[in-house]
């Protein structure tokens, strides 16, 4: 097991940190699940952190000059390269600490981006940073499309979902590809810690982020992040939808610690995917045939995950 985890008792409702490194007053949409997840990420990490943010919703809503929602050092360079920027920050701090130019005290380095910045345009950069073994954590806030530019499909958009570039029509039923499994790609880099998380299970989310920060070397946390604006869902339902994604096995929660899969929340009595689709305009057009296909595939993917957990 990971020695750094031994002293970490875990966050509980009673001992939640009071500090808010990401302050309120930012310009997020009502009911944004992404900024809520990011707030929890930052609560888990605390003050001793440097944030490298990819271009995207979180970057624009928190940093319209001269305002900032950040109470911790934060840098934004571009869309695809948060992992490379984090590599630079980490390398700089390593050499500066070695030379006695900065205190030796550990500072977490967080790279954060959306699903486009992570699974599409930034994939190579993340792969490079993981392979080189920098001591940092990468958090993907996955809202399943390019929301900042107006809801275009990404590699992480789920099968069948309607976006502005995967519109259902006479010849189309929406997104034609299955959601890219970015956590599996992270696992393939043999990094010590990978996890999926959801804002509906906030303690689980914060504990995973903390573990990702504690572990030496690269860590990856993939967080489900509802987007009422892009999904056509009610703002007040973001947490409910997040929970349904887990309960229907659409977005399973698990950790991969040194290659070993551990299911965080085993779903023994799954709800049908139709429960999850309800109230999300992006799935409204789906016919029974596609829904059946999705249900079969969701079940099969979950089985695969269970087998991975059994094997390890």
């Amino acid at each position: 097991m990971i020695p750094e985890f031994e002293k970490f008792k875990g966050f509980k409702a009673k001992n939640l940190p009071k500090e808010e490194p990401l302050s309120p007053g930012h310009r997020g949409c009502q009911g944004c699940g992404e900024v809520l997840a990011l707030r929890m990420v930052m609560k888990a990490l605390g003050k001793d952190v440097i944030v490298c943010n990819a271009t995207g919703c979180m970057e624009i809503i928190t940093s319209p000059y001269p305002h900032t929602a950040w109470r911790v050092p934060w840098i934004h360079i571009a869309f695809e390269n948060a992992a490379s920027v984090a590599s630079g920050v980490e390398s700089a701090r390593k050499v500066l600490a070695r030379k006695g130019k900065i205190p030796k005290k550990h500072v977490d380095i967080l790279a954060v981006g959306g699903d486009g910045a992570t699974g599409d345009i930034g994939l190579q950069f993340i792969s490079g940073a993981f392979e080189r073994g920098h001591d940092f954590l990468y958090v993907c806030l996955d809202n399943e499309a390019y929301m900042n530019t107006g809801v275009q499909r990404s590699g992480c958009t789920p099968y069948g979902a309607m976006t502005t570039t995967s519109p259902p029509g006479k010849k189309s039923f929406g997104q034609v590809t299955w959601k890219k499994n970015v956590p599996a790609i992270a696992v393939a880099h043999n990094i010590p810690y990978v996890a999926t998380a959801s804002p509906a299970y906030f303690l689980d989310l914060m504990n995973k982020v903390k573990k990702a920060a504690l572990v030496k070397g690269p860590a990856y946390v993939h967080i489900y992040s509802p987007c009422p604006t892009g999904w056509g869902s009610a703002g007040e339902r973001s947490i409910e939808i997040s929970r349904l994604a887990v309960e229907t096995k659409v977005f399973p929660l698990y950790e991969v610690i040194e290659g070993r899969y551990i299911i965080s929340r085993k779903i023994t009595k799954p709800k049908p995917v139709t429960e999850y689709f309800k109230g999300q305009r992006r799935f409204r057009h789906l016919d029974e045939e596609h829904i059946e296909y999705i249900q079969r595939k969701v079940d099969a993917e979950y089985e695969k995950l269970l087998r991975l957990a059994e094997m390890s």
């Binding site: 840098i75 934004h76 360079i77 630079g88 390398s91 070695r98 130019k101 950069f125 792969s127 490079g128």
Partner: protein, 392 residues
């Protein structure tokens, strides 16, 4: 004591980066830049240089990593060429307007297609407007000296801008020259430790790289432009200090046998050495020809250039870059703009030569001077001419 050694220019540049005590070196290999980063990687591996060598997976990542490193307060160096430089282009603009000090040596190389690893200036000219200070070296000694100078200027709090030092690929990067490598104590005296005004530090949190709404974007860009213009003073100041310590003098524009010249060749980089030989040959034959070499390209030293031209009436400007469909090469365009509607200004003729590793010989320079003289009498049909194009 500083020592004069026969050394490959790339290796000498790496040694200079070592003498500058660079701390983070993100690098991705591309010909003809490779020997610089190979040697740096060796120096780090042999504990001759206490730095982090980050073997990134692309040039885009290299420049992004440089941004992170500089923002965190480490002395940062990288090197690239051609395709690699273009790949990092997006981040070049960001590094400069965010005022992140760093030094990059560009081993100049032609742009694909057709793919060519050989030397010209197309790669740097398409990055002309990235807002980096840009200098061009003529020989190995200058490459070393400009690299040290670049760290000094870039990290000066009055400047805080990234700098590219351009060296011609192969014709400079891969040749062995006698070079004086300075003493560590002298370099330390010239180059104080990097102390940025702002950096990423949890003890003093700041937000770097925020959104620029229309109400602030123009001002951010104007601030950058003003910083570039103001930088010239500190570039010159650092060259003066360099001379005091190391005894070698550098100017933004170098003049060679310009007194009473009727025609002045205008060049950048290593072809200037051949151009000087050509000037000597032509002077010996009784022709009044001289040479101006642009060392500082950005910020452009307009005043110094005008002064260097003096009363000469014909300029033959050589661009090592052919922008298709443009009125002429970038250096030609810059100078035409500099002299536009200025009374008594020289006639400027634009030539393109030495693309993709084609040699520019003494004879070619003579041809250029002859053509410029002829054009001064009878205006040419085109605004520029490409020299040395094979008919068959």
């Amino acid at each position: 004591m500083s020592k004069r050694v026969g050394i490959e220019v790339s290796i000498a540049i790496a040694e200079a980066v070592g003498l500058a005590r660079a701390e983070v070196i993100p690098a991705y290999p591309i010909t003809p830049q490779t020997h610089i980063v190979e040697h740096l990687s060796e120096m780090v591996a042999n504990a001759e240089l206490d730095a982090e060598f980050v073997p990134v997976e692309s040039e885009h990542a290299a420049m992004s990593c440089c941004c992170g490193s500089s923002a965190a307060g480490a002395r940062t160096f990288t090197s690239s060429s051609a395709q690699g430089l273009s790949l990092m282009s997006e981040v070049l603009y960001i590094a400069s307007t965010m005022r992140l000090p760093m030094v990059m040596v560009v081993a100049n190389r032609a742009m694909s297609a057709p793919i060519s690893i050989w030397n010209d200036h197309q790669d740097i000219m398409i990055q002309r407007d990235t807002g980096w200070i840009q200098t061009f070296a003529e020989n190995g000694q200058e490459a070393v000296d400009l690299t040290l100078h670049a760290f000094r200027v870039s990290e000066d709090r009055n400047v805080s801008l990234p700098i590219m030092v351009n060296i011609d690929g192969f014709t400079l990067s891969h040749v062995i020259e006698p070079i004086e490598l300075p003493d560590q104590e002298d370099v330390d005296r010239f180059l104080p430790p990097f102390k940025p005004r702002y950096k990423l530090d949890p003890r003093r949190p700041i937000t770097m790289g925020p959104v620029g709404i229309p109400e602030v974007y123009t001002e951010a860009k104007v601030a950058h432009d003003m910083a570039m213009k103001k930088a010239k003073r500190y570039i010159l100041k650092a060259w003066n200090e360099f001379e005091e310590i190391f005894g070698r003098k550098y100017n933004p524009i170098e003049s060679y046998r310009t007194e009473d010249a009727e025609v002045l060749l205008v060049t950048m980089g290593s072809i200037s050495e051949t151009a000087m030989t050509a000037v000597d040959t032509m002077r010996d034959a009784g022709q009044k020809v001289g040479l101006l070499r642009i060392r500082l390209w950005r910020p452009f030293p307009g005043q110094e250039f005008r002064r260097a031209v003096g009363k000469t009436k014909i300029l033959a400007v050589i661009d090592r870059c052919l922008p298709p469909g443009a009125l002429c090469g970038p250096v030609g365009a810059e100078l035409r703009s500099l002299f536009y509607k200025i009374p008594g200004s020289p006639k400027i003729f634009s030539f393109v030569a030495g693309l993709g590793g084609r040699d520019v010989t003494v004879e070619r320079f003579e041809e250029i001077v002859d053509k410029a003289r002829a054009f001064a009498k009878k205006r040419p049909r085109e605004l520029y001419e490409v020299i040395g194009v094979r008919e068959k």
